[in-house]
Point group: C2
DNA sequence: TTATATTTCGAACGTTCGTTCGAATTTTAC
DNA sequence: GTAAAATTCGAACGAACGTTCGAAATATAA
């Protein structure tokens, strides 16, 4: 029973270059189909038709369909986190860091829209150890947001401690950002990649200073 | 083909009291299962087991499983909208109206958590005319939000017109509110129903005046 | 080339699913 | 009570699904 394990066992092969390249490709294409049709509406036969691999051949790369979903989710999450670390290196000040986090989140979202749709919309359909591990990553991401918020709050109130208001704020920002997958449409002119930066700035402004304070 | 119709035909019976009472019950219980296990992971057989109706008997009340999902979504949406109308009657001023909208949204969310989870998480899995009709309702809800925001903006800038910044703001608030279904947990002490009002107030404050301005 | 390990595949298994249909049962109206 | 209408049901259909398995093909290393 997989769900008994602390860490789900996924690897068939660790070494081979060829193997991991193909796995990447499978994850990407699968994410694309999952994003378009939904996880449950996409059969493994659909995947095998879309890629050039036989039905049985796919099972060399994952051992259940749920694991495939897990691998997509995990890979997406890890990528967001590591690109966030990269970005935050050069940024000082909690507000600026928060701005960078929003930029990172949305930029990653729209350049990997398929995978992120899957992550945001399907990943809590996972169960057992798969669910737990993704949940853990989500928790740690939220923790980082809460820490930044606390830093900001401490500027005006140095003795501020982590409380419900901060938690609700973090969850609100998280929801604000994640909801974009439901309306962001790369084929719309006004949603061009260049404008994603603008949208992210707008959201940061909105979150930090509110709608009534914001100037267009 | 249903998707050809402007308005999906759903009614088997319009009149009978008995009929519509039982339909209500079915929608509610189905929403509960869909919310817990997900739409795709719940079979009609699961429903028939949970209620006391045979598999075939259920099909007297809807003609496809997708229609069942549609009926749940539509009913939820209509309820939110009509309770919103009720609430707004006694409220003056756009900020206050916006606050009432957030209150309404979240209150309805948590008192009909199951149905709203389904609406927020599964309803864009609908297709054809079903999808179109729900989308239309969503669009009109967003329009109302945008109108309120525009009213607010016009206080400081009377010539303000509907623009992208307002749209992003509305979508952000929408996301903020809708995301609650992923984290709100009625069994947690701090999420008690009494506190929902507080959470809603906090969100309104957050949205209107921003995180840094907000006092706990 | 040969032996070994990696990768791919066709074919099939058992299960579950949504849906249908005609008959049986229950409710309603007179 | 009787006839008509509304409601429920058992049984079955065909289709689609995730997964498995042993054999075939291909790449790798000697």
């Amino acid at each position: 029973m997989v769900s008994d394990l602390i860490e789900p066992e996924t690897a068939v092969q660790e070494n081979s270059e060829r193997y991991s390249l193909k796995l990447r490709d499978i994850l990407e294409r699968a994410a694309s189909l999952f994003a378009r049709e939904g996880y449950h509406n996409t059969s493994i036969r659909d995947l095998s038709r879309d890629m050039d691999i036989s039905l049985a051949g796919l099972y060399y790369y994952f051992k259940t369909k749920e694991e495939l979903l897990f691998l997509i989710s995990k890979h997406s999450f890890d990528s967001v986190l590591s690109s966030l670390d990269e970005r935050l290196k050069d940024v000082r000040g909690p507000e600026q860091k928060l701005g960078a986090l929003v930029q990172n989140h949305l930029q990653y979202f729209v350049t990997h829209l398929d995978a992120m749709k899957v992550l945001a919309h399907e990943s809590d359909g996972l169960r057992g150890a798969y669910f737990d591990l993704i949940q853990k990553k989500k928790r740690s991401y939220l923790d980082r947001m809460e820490s930044l918020l606390l830093e900001i709050e401490r500027k005006s109130n140095p003795s501020a401690r982590r409380n419900d208001a901060v938690k609700v704020a973090a969850l609100s920002l998280f929801g604000m950002m994640n909801w974009t997958y439901t309306w962001y449409n790369p084929s719309k002119r006004e949603h061009s990649l260049a404008n994603v930066r603008r949208i992210a700035d707008r959201m940061t402004e909105l979150f930090l200073h509110g709608f009534v304070r914001t100037k267009k």
